[in-house]
Symmetry: C2
Subunit: 351 residues, 2 copies
DNA sequence: CCTCCATCTCAAACCGTTTTGAAAATGAAT
DNA sequence: ATTCATTTTCAAAACGGTTTGAGATGGAGG
């Protein structure tokens, strides 16, 4: 492997000049820079990471901790994010170290990783309400970015979608179609996003002057069977009126809802409208469900580039409170939503 | 952070002596070592990784690449291995970097990681028949250990179980019980282990003088539904005689087989014996199936400590061809296996 | 008392960068 | 031609360890 010293010897320059030439410092002459770059390419120069790190005091490695649930159901979303994030970070010369945790203390694995002192920062995911990790990491002075949002007015860097708006937009679409009895198949309550979705849902319903019957908001694992079970209970149950529309936290859940409707010989969207939030995970194509699924749309992986960018900025000393982005999910209307069935309209819409 | 220099200044020793004292070199006096260790602890000394790496030329980081399947079904086994391996490696001061790959070229992700030149070596998993990775990595001079075995007489470091024996032991148990028509719910053919399991199965059957009817060996994803579907086809099908015993590649598959038997009102082990190989994944307790499952038993995570040890030895220059371990799975007989049903015995066992 | 051999310790080189502070070269303005 | 302000380049000092080759110290044996 060629080193800076080799190049400087080859060219009769000092290593300092060579270093600056390669790193794009402005004070090096254009022709010198060209010569250096040519020589570097010719000699197959590749900077020594360890040396760079020693000199800069940075490791070039950021960490992420996977929380393993007892049921071992590995998050699809996690893999999607992981893949893209790795690529984005690599493009910025950062490596991602992963650690799997099964313990119950949410901050312990971070402390452990910090102890190994290989890391420049963290990417946090799956925030829970009042997530203790931000304050823990800040107390240690460790930069991090959060995928999602765990607090109302965070003072940390994060990227997330407006989950209240996700529900509100879906509710608005449905109420415009005349629906009044809308149920929510939510994510698990222990995740912060589920709280926001529910809050957005209830606020939008209230704003529309609609009641949310007891039991019309339920949370569960983001699986097809969760959607199936909940929908079956609502649609086949004899207790109280049935919903005419169901909001789902994920497309997999919507798949279960659609199956339940099929089993009950209910037509979608004739008898039931279904709408879901779509994280756009690879291998799941809600456009090809039967019927094609109306969704709020915010690809998980779109978060990765911003997250990587933010983390790097943070590493470079930017104020984390400035590194915050909330985007609004799109709305894609397909064929799973339609007008409320006759006779199920809101009272004042009845002719 | 205290450095070696701080300690040496504190104690009036040279950094060299301090370094050797802390690293356990024999030529440093016992009392000096004690003083150094005390001072190190008192000052909160923690070695600087980057500096160590620069000096030793080693990064202290090994990599592992997760192959993501199109169906996104994340391997439980993978998580189990990952967790334990991380811990084992950490105990040896090695960090594990994970990369997720979705591409089709099996060696490309390794090349990419090597380019980032952060790694001292790799842990390979999920070997396929004629796996191209070993020769690729050897051609690059990169140390690695394989979890599993992809070639008949490998010249690389690996740890695995004797998969032929797994099948053979199971067949032996069943033939001792008089079974003659045994079917195999195998893993996917594209993994090397499945080939070995099938070879062991066919060899053992042949040795027992038993035929394996067409279609009695099928491979599939290691899920409950795979087991259910295959078992249903064999047991409810009208084509040809039904098996009296079924071997499963995983306990999840066995769960499916048991469910199929229940659905068909077949008693286990009265009408059907079931045996599976048990990787002893967390959260799956075949001892508590109904009936408790007879298994060949080889905890996945038992591989991790040996793998870590081998990798470290390899890193330290050991001959990889010497770093090979094959263990034999245990056999745990529970209640899912029993004598062949009356009238289904092998001909010469009939009275 | 001197020698010899362990045992222990040290100063210095080294790993390959980045970064600093100063010197040299260049060019324009006087 | 001289001066001054800019480029442009350089030597050397970090960064924090490991490793080398040699010197110091000590005790035992003569």
């Amino acid at each position: 492997m060629a080193t800076l010293k080799d190049i400087s010897a080859e060219l009769g320059l000092s290593v300092a000049t060579v270093s600056r030439a390669l790193n794009g410092f402005p004070e090096v002459g254009a022709k010198t820079r060209a010569r250096v770059q040519e020589a570097a390419a010719r000699l197959g120069y590749r900077p020594n990471r360890s040396a760079q790190r020693l000199a800069t005091g940075r490791s070039g490695v950021v960490g992420m901790i996977v929380k393993l649930r007892a049921d071992m159901s590995a998050d699809q979303t996690f893999f999607d994010v992981l893949t893209t994030l790795t690529a984005e970070l690599a493009a910025c010369d950062l490596d991602l170290v992963l650690s799997v945790d099964q313990g119950s203390d949410p901050t312990a694995p971070y402390a452990r990783m910090l102890e190994r002192d290989l890391l420049d920062g963290f990417v946090l995911n799956a925030p829970v309400p009042d997530d203790p990790r931000p304050s823990f990491l800040r107390s240690r002075g460790v930069p991090f970015v959060m995928h999602g949002q765990a607090h109302d007015a965070p003072d940390y860097a994060f990227f997330g979608i407006d989950n209240r708006a996700v529900s509100a937009d879906a509710v608005a679409l449905l109420t415009d179609l005349g629906h009044a009895r809308i149920a929510l198949v939510n994510g698990e309550a222990r995740f912060a996003f589920a709280g926001d979705r529910e809050a957005g849902f209830r606020a939008a319903m209230a704003a529309a002057g609609l009641a949310v019957p007891d039991g019309f908001v339920q949370g569960g694992a983001p699986t097809e069977s969760t959607g199936y079970t909940m929908a079956l209970a609502w649609l086949a149950g004899r207790a109280g009126p049935r919903p005419t529309a169901i909001l789902c936290a994920t497309t997999a859940m919507a798949q279960g809802v659609l199956r339940a409707a099929r089993d009950l010989r209910l037509s979608v969207p004739g008898d039931l409208s279904v709408i879901a939030h779509d994280d756009a995970l690879p291998g799941i194509g809600p456009a090809h469900f039967t019927p094609p699924l109306t969704v709020t749309h915010a690809p998980m992986r779109d978060a990765c580039a911003p997250l990587a960018r933010m983390l790097i900025d943070h590493l470079n000393g930017a104020d984390p409170a400035r590194l915050q982005t909330v985007i609004r999910a799109g709305l894609i209307v397909r064929a799973s939503t339609g007008p409320v069935p006759k006779g199920e309209e809101r009272p004042w819409q009845t002719p």
